[in-house]
Subunit: 653 residues, 2 copies
Amino acid sequence: MGNADYVYPSTNVECAHRVAIPPPQPFLKSLKNSLKETFFPDDPLRQFKNQPPSRKLKLGLQYIFPIFEWGPRYNLEFLKSDLVAGITIASLAIPQGISYARLANLPPILGLYSSFIPPLVYAMMGSSRDLAVGTVAVASLLTASMLGNEVNANENPTLYLHLAFTSTFFAGLFQAALGFLRLGFIVDFLSHATIVGFMAGAATVVCLQQLKGILGLDHFTHGTDLISVMRSVFTQTHKWRWESAVLGFVFLFYLLLARYSSKRRPKLFWISAMAPLTSVILGSLFVYLTHAEKNGVQVIGELKKGLNPPSIMDLAFGSPYLTTTIRTGIVTGVIALAEGIAVGRSFAMFKNYHIDGNKEMIAFGMMNVVGSCTSCYLTTGPFSRSAVNFNAGCKTAASNIVMALAVMITLLFLTPLFHYTPLVVLSSIIIAAMLGLINYEEAIHLWHLDKFDFLVCMGAYVGVVFGSVEIGLVIAVALSVLRLLLFVARPRTLVLGNIPNSMIYRSVHQYPNANNVPGILILEIDAPIYFANASYLRERISRWIDEEEDRLKTSGESSLQYVILDMGAVGNIDTSGISMLEEVKKTVDRRGLKLVLANPGGEVMKKLNKSKLIELIGQEWIYLTVGEAVGACNYMLHTCKPKNESETWSNNV
Amino acid sequence: MGNADYVYPSTNVECAHRVAIPPPQPFLKSLKNSLKETFFPDDPLRQFKNQPPSRKLKLGLQYIFPIFEWGPRYNLEFLKSDLVAGITIASLAIPQGISYARLANLPPILGLYSSFIPPLVYAMMGSSRDLAVGTVAVASLLTASMLGNEVNANENPTLYLHLAFTSTFFAGLFQAALGFLRLGFIVDFLSHATIVGFMAGAATVVCLQQLKGILGLDHFTHGTDLISVMRSVFTQTHKWRWESAVLGFVFLFYLLLARYSSKRRPKLFWISAMAPLTSVILGSLFVYLTHAEKNGVQVIGELKKGLNPPSIMDLAFGSPYLTTTIRTGIVTGVIALAEGIAVGRSFAMFKNYHIDGNKEMIAFGMMNVVGSCTSCYLTTGPFSRSAVNFNAGCKTAASNIVMALAVMITLLFLTPLFHYTPLVVLSSIIIAAMLGLINYEEAIHLWHLDKFDFLVCMGAYVGVVFGSVEIGLVIAVALSVLRLLLFVARPRTLVLGNIPNSMIYRSVHQYPNANNVPGILILEIDAPIYFANASYLRERISRWIDEEEDRLKTSGESSLQYVILDMGAVGNIDTSGISMLEEVKKTVDRRGLKLVLANPGGEVMKKLNKSKLIELIGQEWIYLTVGEAVGACNYMLHTCKPKNESETWSNNV
């Protein structure tokens, strides 16, 4: 309390500005504002403002069905481009569809069904111009592993199929609900690092599963982890079929070569895009001509002709496995959303148009709900197919319609052609697609840029490969959330110094040439002061003062008189934080020092005012900038020298 | 890109300081630093530095057993004070101990056992001078409800007793482990608001349970929620015993009166402290003289003479209920810790000494582990008893030893005196103690100060009263964590303006007199840029630019040229955040504007540098302060006027 008899400095120092308390807002208004910021940050209804009702109706229709917006502007040039793109992606969609359906332990024909109806729905409701709709490997694998835990797909295929439809229904419902309720930000919690690690892990797991096809094994583990698969593979060495393996590696080599050449010359994208269909045709011809199906090369066999049968009556809402289907739906739905939205956003960035995440979710959701009633399983916007669509020069979502029509023709007339397609070719197609998902360069980039993100990425990868897909996801999300909590729970406190020849104060760690101010300790708090960090900050501030006093004692410098807290980065404070500041004030007083606040923000000032803490600290000890606070303290130090001080002051501000 | 042909301003504007990239640190060193900050923020080993080994040993012993530190300084004056305080708290401890043991459905004698051994352990290991050790109502109730779900205490008392010892053991183990592993900050996640709501809810529930004793009912619900209790009470109106109720209300009135008078005159604290023992004595005398036990007034009955029997062999590690005991142990252990540490800290604040949270946890943990082996159940530092201890003038933890000795004498010689103590008096004692825990004034204070904290508090209260103790706790912790996540997921972005007659830029919301700078939009981001808010911030920044351009268009002002992002409050950035900034840079470029950064911190500069984003933005467009950034932009606006501009500029900086 040694400084209690000082004159208040604010009246003496020039240029000191008062820190304002923001004008009070009625509770309901501020509640409305913060709800709006939380759920409608993009203000989606802005365009509806001040419009006549007929225009509003039109805008509303265009909002829900973007096809009404771009449809009228559609022209022949667009059609030509979309036709080429649509046929190209259809040639990719057919073999990939069949492969991924097998990955999900579903009848191969479902892959074709799923490339027919959902793209039509998306073409009407989706706002991306480049997204190509279809099934994806990771969601297929997840469906197989989560439903497979409850029902064996080989022993009870009908029940398994119905559960798959039901979980697709719930996935769609969940996706649409997230969009309707403006909760799209849940997807943001799957950070970029999580997705890199998770995708690579899932790709590894999917490749491992293909060892069954490549080696021509009949029995295989139901586990997806590395250890189960390796055990399953190496305990059956006597059952490996070399015919199958040779065929597989030949096609894999061809596919990778095609991709490599497309990568070198982006204009040759069609080589890579057509390669899967070419492989299927060549493989089928080979089997048909050599009768290899009798020599250990498994083939697809009969595929039913005809369009999607309705499956609305197959949705098993009364099943004892309902909770499993809901859980599967939610997990696969979120994963599918994360991929689809990330893909849509990336291509929108390229072409400079805007995508509304919540609207996309509704489109994905509706597409899956309709799909689940028409014998389709979970679809989204896979990266590989959308990239081909983009490269093939698609102009609008009409390329999805073209693809759907091509698949329809296949379903109606061409299914018998797939009878002799060898399974091992499908495995090669999957492996080739998956290897592109293992983005090790990005992982190295993460390591260089942000160690914690790398940890999250590795957590997801190791979790998926050695545990299961869900474990990997939980590890990664938990680590990501832990990081957020740690940021708040252990905020950084920085000591500030004076940048020479200025009134600016910055961290002495970042600016090694910044000078300490004699007699004054300036601390910056880098996070909101909440219950989770209040005790920590109290301890840490005490320790800074201890350390500073020790340092001054050993170096024989003038003793500490003022502690300035720079609150510029303190975005908010709660009641625990207010108590903490009260305690810090008491501690600092007890040590005979003076507590000074610099630059508290609006929220902090409001709380300081309401809690009367502002009077305890003294309004005259709260400054707008650190510079002004230091100026005032220095003024006090020089005009009213404490009795126990004898050194001469060196002032460098 | 309209500004690409401008001259770089930094060479033209005076006084512009370079933003430094902090000196690189080896990975292991920075990892060590951040681990130290997370787990050893208080640097507990500081005093051991540079000391000879013998001194280190002594300090270490004093660190673990603080009694070796204060013991040698103990003197007669201390003893006198501690004797008075110890006897006062013993008089409170005996009736409270019996009451709370009954609340936990345990034999009443356990309450006395628990006030004998644990205080002795704490006196040696604890660092608080004011904490009085004993059982608490909330933990007792929690034990009863969590263990009671598995085993009925009336049907299988021995098993129930053994499970109670086992869960006490695990509670102690967990508490000590938290302390050893420096994870004490977990307790911080129970915020002040949570504890206010939770305690009030628990007190309400405990009072409701006392209706059984007050109304003299034999059968009572096992539920703790308001609805079960009300149904149980009002379906048995014909079994209410008026004798019991009258006795109960008389004593309750006496106890509340005693507390009221003590509150009015703090010097009369002993009236309130002695009131429970007085009630017990008066009640027992009354029953003994009137033989009321034969008229519907239930009494304690036989209490076994003798000290705590060992119970180490009763720990039921092999029991099928092991997981229940572990769960009970962890939940009750955390609750007990939160109360004990909060109490210890509050009194330490009063008397200006320091308490080490992690060390206290080890002390609490050891006290419960030892307790569980000597027929005690969960103990901590209850607020009521510690407050009496403090008011009675205790000087050291020796008052706990005095209390333990008093309880020992009671156990050895005085237990028969409690034979006729009516249960209804115990109920009155509990209700009187509990009413003090319902801190409605604090809840009103929370409402005024921070609406979200009030919501957390009410969530805890309603959850406890209408659901269960665990539900209330989960609601409150989930809401608190949600708040932290929302702070990061939806950070505030503020528009800054110029404070007249200065180079200072602050929020126009907080400072209504701050002026916009023509042609420049200045935004402050108030949180770290992480995956959870990257998409939000991208959208929000676009919207700010949209809104600003709309505003300028309607008001006919000069068009927007620069967007300055004030990064002063951005404590950290992850890889998703870097991608977001890259995208913002592209969007801003596309609109023909220029992106300028002001005051990025050390972590942000490091990441910007590593990701090469610094080159994309241009080092010359990164300034140390907003003022310098605006100065540079203004310089550009005036010297190189864009071609499409014809208005005259009005510059007010």
